[in-house]
């Protein structure tokens, strides 16, 4: 393999360092494909950290396996790249052990809803105070284009060349019915909007579920493309209070491209709070 050590990269890095919010970026260059939606998610993440003035050493990002798994290595903070589907259990243990840290868990659609799908209901019902960001590109990217739990019905993929026989999951509806106390959606092409929901989710004292709609530019040429997303994404058409479960459920059903906060339960106590109360 040719070592990528060109002048262009050095110049680019210098530019990056000069920009204030990119102090949250590590010195390692992302390994994602050019044009990947994940770059946008990272930008929003860095900006959110900057605006909240989080201390680098007090941020912990826990990831699973897949393209999203590499996320922590690109953040100038503590990070733990764990096992496929297991970012939630590790992040839960970490947060309960170290309530002083700001803990993020990141996962892709295969990671969070496929192999790790069994953990989501429990972290939601327990309401452990971690911010969970779902990098949802509706395909397995790192293994090169197989169907995931959010791949549309009948879409042709490398594991289903004549069409996906499985119906996709609706991540927002799942999170709502599992009892997540903060449920939001962002779009990889809108870093400002994502930054807002990431900040709100981080400040929310409990489990925050944030789905990001993002394209896989390499293995999905027909469905969740930049073009399709740009045409369809719109701000959620519902009350910004977002305190009504019924409205949120209806929006989850009827607004598959709506971005913003679906639901937040401000009064719900976090798991740590509940434990402290029970053991007082």
């Amino acid at each position: 393999m040719v070592e990528i050590q060109s002048k262009y990269l050095d110049e680019k890095l210098d530019q990056v360092r000069a920009m204030d919010f990119l102090q949250y970026r590590s010195g390692d260059l992302p390994t994602w494909c050019p044009g990947c939606g994940y770059f946008g998610i990272m930008d929003a993440f860095y900006k959110a950290c900057r605006q909240m003035e989080l201390k680098h050493e007090n941020i912990c990002t826990v990831s699973g396996i897949g393209c999203s798994g590499r996320t922590p290595i690109f953040i100038n903070s503590y990070g733990f790249h764990t096992l496929h589907g297991r970012s939630i259990p590790v992040a839960s243990g970490l947060k309960l052990a170290r309530p002083d840290l700001t803990v993020f868990a990141v996962a892709g659609d295969g990671d969070a809803l496929g192999i790790g799908g069994g953990h989501l209901p429990h972290v939601a019902r327990k309401n452990i105070d971690i911010t969970f960001i779902l990098f949802d590109n509706s395909i397995y990217g790192l293994t090169k284009g197989q169907s995931s739990s959010t791949t549309p019905y009948e879409m042709k993929t490398n594991s289903h060349p004549v069409g996906n026989p499985d119906s996709p999951l609706n991540p927002i509806r799942l999170a709502l019915s599992y009892g997540a106390s903060f449920v939001a959606r962002g779009y990889a092409g809108d870093p400002e909007g994502m930054k807002e929901v990431i900040m709100e989710g981080t400040k929310h004292p409990g489990f925050s579920f944030i789905q990001i709609l993002t394209p896989c530019v390499t293995f999905d040429k027909s469905n969740r493309t930049w073009k399709n997303l740009k045409e369809n994404v719109h701000p959620l058409r519902m009350s910004p209070e977002a305190d009504n479960m019924e409205t949120a459920m209806r929006a989850a059903e009827n607004q598959p491209f709506g971005v913003g906060v679906f639901f937040k339960d401000k009064d719900r106590r976090s798991y740590q709070d509940i434990l402290d109360g029970l053991n007082a």
């Binding site: 290595i73 503590y78 733990f80 096992l83 939630i88 590790v90 243990g93 970490l94 002083d100």
Partner: protein
């Protein structure tokens, strides 16, 4: 002084108070100064009419195994006791219900099936219980009364043990039990003439109250609390559940957190997360749960995050036999998962060492930033011993993390190469220690590195920890040799070790030239000591409770010669008699 050694079994149906009666017997005999070792077997089902046996060995000297056959069988239930007669010695004692509430057909009576050599005493258990408390529930206490009267045990002292057992119950419950006991005691004194030769007379032991009467699960939990455990995550599974239940009560008072998770994958995941956060964390499980935890065993070793798993082994594979004891997770504990994955495995050899192994396990995990598996088994988890209160760990066992120096933090490398394999660990939140942990192969900074040199260097680093661990591991227990050599060397591990050491001591008295070796440290194993020991023995015998001889396979690989194996998987623990019989054959 005379050596007294009596095994009493109480056999009944689930719900008849069999296990409680055994507990009270143990408590009382311990208070009288005896060594006790008791072990219950019961069905996996909560309700129904499954067979329960409370097995108690009572001795005037130190004992290390539960004894194979019973001297006394108390039959609370005739049907179940008929099948238990095979575990009663020739010439033993049978106590049965002479006036059962529902009369038996002739072929269903335990008396009819007993060996002619057995001395039997009929006591109207049901009738006396009815008389004492107005219902049949106190039959177990009547039986204890009969035993106490037959062996001339202290009537008042026994009453105190019953009161202590039910101290938290309503007065009426205490009274019913005590009255049933007294009814049984007095009736037996008045009506039964002792015809057997078993006796507790002839020894003078100091009565005492201060010994702990405790099982392995309780000791693991206590040790964890004393060793600064701050996080426990778990999922219920027999026979490890009790550890979680004790900690759920106690851990918050010690400033810790208990998390009951949705499965064992999540349990070990949370333990790894908490360990990564810099506090002491553990989980406890049994075979099926350990199987699920396998993927995290690799991550703990690869990412170098402390984690402790207690695996209380039961009959396997798969769901197996949940309430029977076995030592068949040796291979799983050492080799679970993929790749070259050096972890630490400890196996306590008796009840008391469950405490020490847990303290050591939490210490080693933290210091060496790796996975420690502690292998108990159903027998160690549940068998009850009277032991001295364990000594609490000192500060050197409690703060074991190798923190980075200021110099280290100037250019921090999470996976820095060192001679002992330990890289200074910056806990998240440490300024200057920002680092990336991963299950991918990596370089010193944690960046993915798939180069052949890098993989080799990191593998060597991880295995260097083994050499370092061995330096501070407890030394193997080796019996004295009579002269330079032994005809038979018995090598044992885990709960079979007590029986092995006892068998060797008895064999020596019989004139067999034997020696004994056991090690709590299973991985890394003290190979050099093993080679030296084996070199002095003409024959090697390895007893263990599994089908394959999993440890024997390991030992053969080390000492490079065939060993004699003693394997059985009947679900009962290893007894000294089993090993002795084999030694006599050799």
């Amino acid at each position: 002084m005379k050596d007294i050694n009596i095994v009493i079994e109480i056999c009944g149906s689930a719900g008849e108070g069999t296990i409680s009666a055994g507990e009270i017997l143990s408590r009382f005999m311990s208070s009288q100064g005896y060594e006790i070792m008791s072990f219950d077997s019961y069905p996996a089902e909560i309700r129904g009419f499954g067979k329960c046996v409370a097995h108690t060995r009572i001795s005037s000297s130190v004992i290390n195994s539960p004894g194979k056959l019973a001297d006394v069988l108390i039959a609370l239930n005739d049907g179940h006791s008929i099948s238990q007669l095979s575990a009663l010695k020739k010439g033993g004692i049978l106590i049965y219900d002479s006036q059962p509430a529902k009369p038996h057909e002739e072929d269903k009576s335990v008396l009819g099936w007993a060996d002619p050599s057995v001395v039997s005493y009929g006591v109207p258990l049901a009738m006396l219980a009815q008389k004492a408390a107005g219902n049949l529930r106190g039959r177990n206490m009547v039986a204890l009364g009969a035993i106490a009267a037959l062996f001339d045990l202290d009537r008042e002292g026994f009453t105190d043990s019953i009161k202590a057992r039910y101290a938290k119950k309503k007065q009426i419950v205490i009274d019913s039990n005590v009255n049933s006991f007294l009814e049984g005691f007095d009736w037996t004194k008045d009506h039964i003439e002792k015809k057997d030769t078993f006796t507790f007379d002839g020894v003078s032991l100091e009565p005492r109250g201060e010994k702990l009467i405790i099982n392995g699960n309780q000791l693991v939990a206590q040790a964890a609390l004393d060793a600064d455990l701050k996080f426990y995550a778990g999922y219920p599974i027999t026979p490890a559940t009790k550890i979680m239940e004790i900690l759920s009560k106690e851990l918050p008072g010690y400033g810790g957190t208990l998390l009951q998770t949705e499965d064992e994958i999540s349990a070990i995941g949370a333990v790894v997360g908490a360990g990564y956060g810099g506090i002491r964390a553990m989980t406890a499980t049994s075979g099926p749960g350990f199987a699920l935890m396998t993927e995290f065993t690799g991550l703990s070793v690869m990412a170098e995050v402390p984690a402790v798993i207690v695996d209380s082994q039961r009959g396997g594979p798969s769901t197996g036999i949940p309430t029977k004891t076995e030592q068949s997770d040796f291979n799983a504990a050492l080799y679970s998962g993929t790749g070259d994955c050096p972890r630490v495995v400890l196996a306590p050899t008796d009840t008391a060492s469950c405490y020490d192994a847990t303290v050591l396990g939490l210490y080693l995990a933290e210091k060496y930033q790796t996975l420690v598996v502690i292998l108990l088994d159903f027998f160690l988890s549940n068998s009850i011993r009277n032991i001295d209160t364990p000594k609490k760990p000192g500060p050197q066992m409690l703060n074991a993390n190798v923190n980075p120096t200021e110099e280290d933090l100037k250019d921090y490398k999470r996976y820095k190469f060192t001679d002992d394999g330990i890289s200074p660990r910056a806990i998240p939140g440490t300024p200057g220690g920002i680092s990336f942990y991963t299950g991918l192969e990596h370089d010193e900074r944690g960046r993915p590195d798939y180069s052949d040199k890098g993989h080799l260097a990191m593998s060597e680093k991880r295995y260097r920890k083994h050499a370092s661990v061995l330096k501070e591991a407890p030394a193997p227990v080796i019996s004295d040799f009579d002269g330079d050599r032994a005809d038979i060397g018995v090598i044992s591990w885990g709960s079979s070790a007590g029986a092995a050491h006892e068998a060797v001591a008895t064999a020596k008295k019989e004139g067999i030239n034997a020696a004994s070796f056991s090690s709590v440290m299973l991985y890394p194993f003290p190979d050099e000591a093993l080679i030296e020991f084996a070199g002095r023995c003409d024959n090697i015998l390895i007893p263990e409770l599994n089908f394959q001889g999993q440890f024997a396979d390991y030992a053969q690989g080390v000492i490079k010669r065939e060993v004699t194996r003693l394997n059985f998987i009947t679900g009962r623990p290893m007894a000294a008699e089993d090993i002795l019989d084999k030694m006599r054959e050799m």
